[in-house]
């Protein structure tokens, strides 16, 4: 991420892959952004050092999903990790080819979060699935995502794999999800510094992807909302995008939540630091929405 003169640019996107459904969804979203912004993609697969270690421990056994027990050895573990890496690489290649962008892919070994964050500092954007393979089912966000949220040095794109086609799935989702996710960009404007950066980034994305930008205005009253709208409109001047305005009575969490959920396939652009949206609230928000979220530093 470079923010020279408040301009949001995107040249390198780091995609952390672990072959999980969420990370593949993240890869898709990243490929869309890369295609729109003509950035290049870098895939990273981290071989978890913890797994290597536990495979060498004498006391560990693997419990399979069929409830059977299996012994572990290092060689087997390394082979399995290699297979996953190869799968991730293939997915990367396919996504990049589809988006017609440059790409690279590498495998690292170490602590997952550490390796990912270290690699991210060389990129403009880090893309992650909301959860990884070693998920804690209680939390909506995986451990790596939490670490990135707290300490990513660059912009962060978090994507959730949305279950479709399963028993009782909502109708038409399968057909819509793909295309319409790229169709709209949502951004929250509250007059803060961070929010205006987010608005700038969202506007650039919407312009590059030729989609509608919806600005959610967070203000105390309708006058303030009008002021916000005027200011935001001013900053958007000269851009050829279609903008929709939506005024929300001040951020009682669920009000904003509703507005976002009602457009659950759109890309939501937020700022890490916003007085009206403290970090804790952002985390809570992420727990409750399924939209892909782009956090701007």
């Amino acid at each position: 991420m470079s923010e020279r003169e408040g301009r949001f640019t995107l040249r390198r996107i780091l995609v952390a892959l672990d072959a999980s459904a969420h990370s593949l969804a993240a890869l898709e979203a990243a490929a869309d952004l890369a295609a729109a912004m003509q950035a290049e993609m870098e895939g990273l697969f981290v071989e978890d050092i913890n797994l290597i270690r536990l495979a060498s421990l004498p006391c560990t056994r693997e419990v399979r999903h069929t409830a059977s027990l299996a012994s572990l050895d290092l060689e087997q573990m390394e082979r399995a990790l290699k297979a996953q890496a190869a799968e991730a690489r293939q997915a990367m290649a396919a996504a990049a080819r589809g988006a017609r962008v440059q790409w690279s892919f590498r495998v690292a070994r170490g602590h997952v979060a550490h390796e990912v964050l270290a690699a991210a500092s060389a990129a403009d954007l880090l893309t992650l699935g909301k959860q990884g393979r070693s998920r804690n089912p209680r939390a909506r966000l995986g451990s790596t995502a939490l670490r990135a949220l707290a300490g990513a040095p660059v912009a962060l794109l978090l994507v959730e794999h949305r279950r479709v086609g399963a028993h009782g799935a909502r109708f038409g989702e399968a057909a819509r999800a793909d295309t319409e996710a790229r169709r709209r960009v949502l951004v929250v404007a509250d007059g803060s510094e961070g929010a205006s950066r987010a608005l700038d980034a969202a506007a650039r994305l919407a312009e590059a992807s030729v989609v509608t930008l919806t600005v959610l205005l967070l203000a105390d009253d309708s006058n303030a909302a009008r002021d916000l709208e005027l200011a935001a409109a001013h900053s958007l001047e000269g851009r050829s995008i279609e903008v929709r305005w939506r005024s929300l009575a001040l951020a009682k969490g669920h009000n904003l939540l509703r507005a976002i959920q009602s457009d659950e396939t759109a890309l939501l652009v937020l700022s890490f630091s916003s007085p009206r949206l403290p970090e804790a609230t952002v985390g809570k928000l992420l727990d409750h929405i399924t939209n892909p979220v782009l956090l701007i530093r």
Binding site: I49, N50, L51, R53, L54, A55, S56, L57, P58, C59, T60, R61, E62, V63, R64, H65, T66, A67, S68, L69, A70, L72, M77, A80, L81, A83, Q84, H111, R133, S134, R135, N136, P137, R138, H167, G168, R170, F171, G172, A174, A175
Partner: protein, 808 residues
């Protein structure tokens, strides 16, 4: 025995007097009520259609062209119109066993209604069900269930994770499963560090891990149960919601069809099936359903394959009918009779369902009448067998030929059979009827009523008037000019000629209609507005002219002397016989020379035609009768010691019939008595062993054949034809023949016995035995007897010295 007088002109042609009729033209006549001359057939049809018993189907027999089809159809239509309209029939899916579609019987006209209702129902279901499933209420309830399952999992894992954490053990996910690993400062301990731990600590860790693993295994084993429980709850929820959405839509229909229990049953089955397959209504239209439904693509884009299962295939419907159906199936193939199941190519494979069941003629005629051409049914593979089987079983079972013959056993449909109540009327030639009744025992079981059509009716003033009405009706039907009295009379006369009998009228409708149409043509061409006798005559002449190429060629060859026929003078052992040739519809007669030679022999009369197998059995029979006659009359007390040979000169194809046997006998008698026969006469008639002359066929054509030849050579006044006296009633001769007879230039002699004939032919008395048993001197018979005695003597003289006795 007196001389036979030649027939008076009145006997040669029975005129129909135009003055008999009151009308001027047929335009004044009412239509003919009913049918002339087919009382027997009409009674049979009335009986056969009224009797409601198994096997009383009808076979209408008679030559083609007698109008049987029209008569029967008209009768059936009149009768059927007053009979009740039969039920509609539909096939619907059988949800328990889709291979066996169910048949539904509905009151007439309601089949289409049910089909429309079913289509509407599917449309409504397709919007009502998704709407119900998109409701907020449903989504919330579903999420609760899903969350419940998830909670189960999560709680179990969370518990294990917590327990592990307390003991410094982390639950980790590997590519293939889950592992508990000891940790140090939040990370998995390295193997080196682990080794450094005190022995007791290591053992504790191993124990803890083991315990945790066992717990994990236990909860993993339980996981499928939770999931199943969740799925069941979800299914129950789906069914509840679907039932709510479906129930009231189907209730309306149930109320509407409450009087027809099978339909209500079907609706219940639909309801249950919709609820069980509710997912199909929720899928977006793009998703391929065919694999799931296993149904072919429908022709109409109205429904997708899956929803076909709820539709109704109306195979028989009578919404616009009045009365019972009368069906004539022009192309009675097996499939067209019993119906068929069609197939559709789908992804290269053939598949089918109840919607592709097609009805046959038997379905359409069920409750009414089915008319079929017998020959066509018989010439279509398995159509006859299929028809019989259906009639025998009393139900229509749709099976492909392959199934019926057990040739193929691929899965196909077995539609529920439909009960059959139909009268089948087969139409065919008589021969076909007799062959079937002789060779097919089932035929007599199934077609008990023969409707036998007459070809002619006795000619009487009444029938002639009816005939005039028939002519009037045909003229109106065919939009011909009306026929005047003279024209009608001429048609009636010609009709008698068609019948070959002055006392009968032909009932052959086609020949009659043709004549009327052609007479009308000539009348129109001449610009008239009625058809008179002249036009009818012209039509007859033209018909003869068109058909006369062969006849004229014959005659030409005779006139040019290629074919040797004498029409004057007298010859021994030679007589003019007459035969009839019928190459197509038109028959003509022509003379043939028959000769006989005799010599000493052993009593055989050799028929050369027979020796070379050019004669048919009846002809041979006639010749054998001759030896019987000869032996009995002239040589009852001594061996018949002649050898005679008889031949049809210049005949190169077969000879059949015995109508020349009298001529052969005359030739033989002439040869034996060495009495010449007048060549100005020609002879026809068969003979029996007593020397009586018997009737033959084609008498008119034969006389005309000889007359034409004599006329061409010039009538001498001597010429004539000997015909059997019993044929006089058949005479309907051409006008020119009658005129020549009137003028005394041609004669027709009715002959009863050989003696009468030989007297006419030779000009000598035949001779009768007197009291002493002798023929009068100089008579033909006397000469014959003398010759035979002389031959017998000679033979004895030859035989005595050298030949053994046993030989005869």
């Amino acid at each position: 025995m007196g001389r036979i007088e030649s027939l008076k002109p009145e006997a040669l042609y029975r005129r129909c007097d135009p003055e008999l009729f009151q009308f001027e033209t047929t335009a004044e006549l009412d239509d003919l009520e009913g049918i002339i001359g087919q009382e027997r057939a009409v009674e049979a049809v009335e009986f056969g259609t009224a009797i409601r018993r198994e096997g009383y189907n009808l076979f209408s027999l008679g030559p083609s062209g007698t109008g049987k089809f029209k008569i029967v159809r008209d009768f059936l239509k009149r009768k059927a119109a007053a009979e009740p309209i039969p039920s509609d029939w539909c096939y619907v899916n059988s949800f328990d066993d889709p291979q066996k579609p169910r048949a539904l019987r509905l009151p007439p006209g309601q089949g289409i209604e049910l089909r429309q209702d079913a289509e509407r129902l599917v449309e409504e279901l397709r919007s009502a069900i998704p709407a119900a499933f998109e409701s907020e209420d449903y989504r919330t309830r579903r999420q609760v269930i899903e969350e419940e399952v998830k909670e189960h999992h999560e709680r179990a894992f969370e518990e294990l994770r917590r327990q592990g954490q307390e003991k410094g053990i982390a639950l980790m996910r590997t590519p293939a499963g889950l592992v508990f690993a000891p940790t140090q400062k939040g990370e998995v301990i390295t193997p080196e560090d682990f080794q450094q731990l005190p022995e007791a600590e290591r053992e504790r860790i191993e124990r803890d891990i083991k315990a945790l693993q066992e717990q994990l295994q236990a909860s993993l084993r339980q996981a499928p149960q939770w999931e199943r429980g969740g799925r069941e709850k979800l299914k129950a929820l789906n069914q509840e919601v679907a039932n709510f959405a479906v129930g009231h839509l189907i209730d309306e229909l149930r109320k509407k069809y409450t009087a027809i229990p099978p339909v209500v049953e079907f609706l219940n089955a639909v309801q249950q099936d919709v609820i069980e397959n509710v997912e199909a209504f929720l899928k977006p239209p793009e998703s391929p359903l065919s694999a799931q439904a296993g149904n072919p693509q429908p022709r109409s884009p109205k429904a997708f394959p899956f929803f076909r299962r709820y539709l109704v295939n109306v195979v028989v419907e009578h919404s616009g009918s009045e009365g019972a159906p009368v069906v004539y199936e022009d192309n009675p193939t097996y499939q067209n009779l019993v119906g068929q199941v069609e197939y559709m190519a789908q992804m290269g494979a053939l598949s089918t369902d109840f919607g592709l069941i097609r009805s046959g003629a038997l379905h359409q005629a069920n409750g009414g009448y089915l008319m079929l051409d017998a020959l066509r049914v018989l010439s279509q593979p398995y159509a006859w067998e299929g028809l019989k089987r259906t009639l025998r079983s009393g139900e229509i079972r749709i099976e492909s030929l392959g199934q019926a013959l057990s040739l193929i056993s691929t899965a196909s449909l077995e539609p529920e059979p439909i009960p059959l109540s139909v009268k089948v009327v087969l139409l065919g030639e008589r021969l076909l009827y007799y062959l079937l009744s002789q060779h097919d025992s089932e035929f007599n079981e199934l077609f008990k009523v023969a409707v036998d059509f007459d070809e002619e009716v006795t000619r009487s003033p009444t029938s002639q008037l009816l005939y005039a009405k028939l002519i009037g009706r045909l003229a109106r039907q065919e939009k011909l000019l009306p026929f005047d009295r003279g024209g009608v009379a001429r048609v009636i006369e010609q009709s008698a000629r068609f019948a070959g009998d002055a006392e009968k009228l032909s009932l052959h409708n086609r020949t009659l209609s043709d004549l009327l149409r052609e007479a009308d043509y000539w009348a129109q061409k001449a610009g008239g507005n009625v058809v008179g006798a002249g036009e009818v005559q012209r039509a007859i002449d033209a018909q003869i002219r068109r058909a006369s190429r062969m006849r004229e060629q014959y005659q030409e060859e005779v006139l040019r002397g290629t074919l040797l026929i004498d029409t004057e003078g007298a010859k021994v052992g030679q007589v003019n016989g007459l035969s009839v040739v019928q190459p197509g519809r038109y028959a003509f007669g022509h003379p043939s020379r028959i000769t006989a030679r005799v010599r000493l022999g052993r009593g055989e009369v050799v028929d050369i035609e027979r020796e070379v197998e050019l004669s048919g059995p009846i002809h041979s029979k006639g010749v054998l009768i001759l030896s019987g006659f000869l032996g009995a009359r002239y040589a009852s007390d001594r061996p018949l010691s002649l050898s005679a040979s008889l031949v049809f000169e210049q005949s190169y194809s077969g000879v059949e019939g015995d109508s020349a046997s009298s001529a052969e006998l005359y030739a033989l008698l002439s040869a034996l008595s060495e009495t010449p026969i007048k060549q100005s006469l020609a002879v026809t008639g068969s003979v029996n062993q007593r020397g009586e002359v018997q009737a033959i066929g084609g008498v008119n054509e034969k006389i005309e054949g000889f007359f034409d030849l004599c006329h061409a050579r010039g009538l001498t006044g001597e010429q004539g034809v000997l015909i059997p006296a019993s044929n006089v009633k058949h005479l309907m001769l051409r006008r020119d023949v009658v005129e020549a007879v009137e003028a005394g230039k041609f004669h027709i002699y009715p002959v009863e016995t050989i003696d009468q004939g030989i007297a006419l032919l030779t000009g000598l008395e035949a001779g009768e035995r007197d009291g002493g048993g002798n023929f009068p001197e100089g008579s033909v018979n006397h000469r014959v007897e003398e010759r035979l005695i002389a031959l017998a003597e000679k033979r004895r003289a030859f035989g005595q010295p050298s030949q053994s006795r046993g030989e005869t």
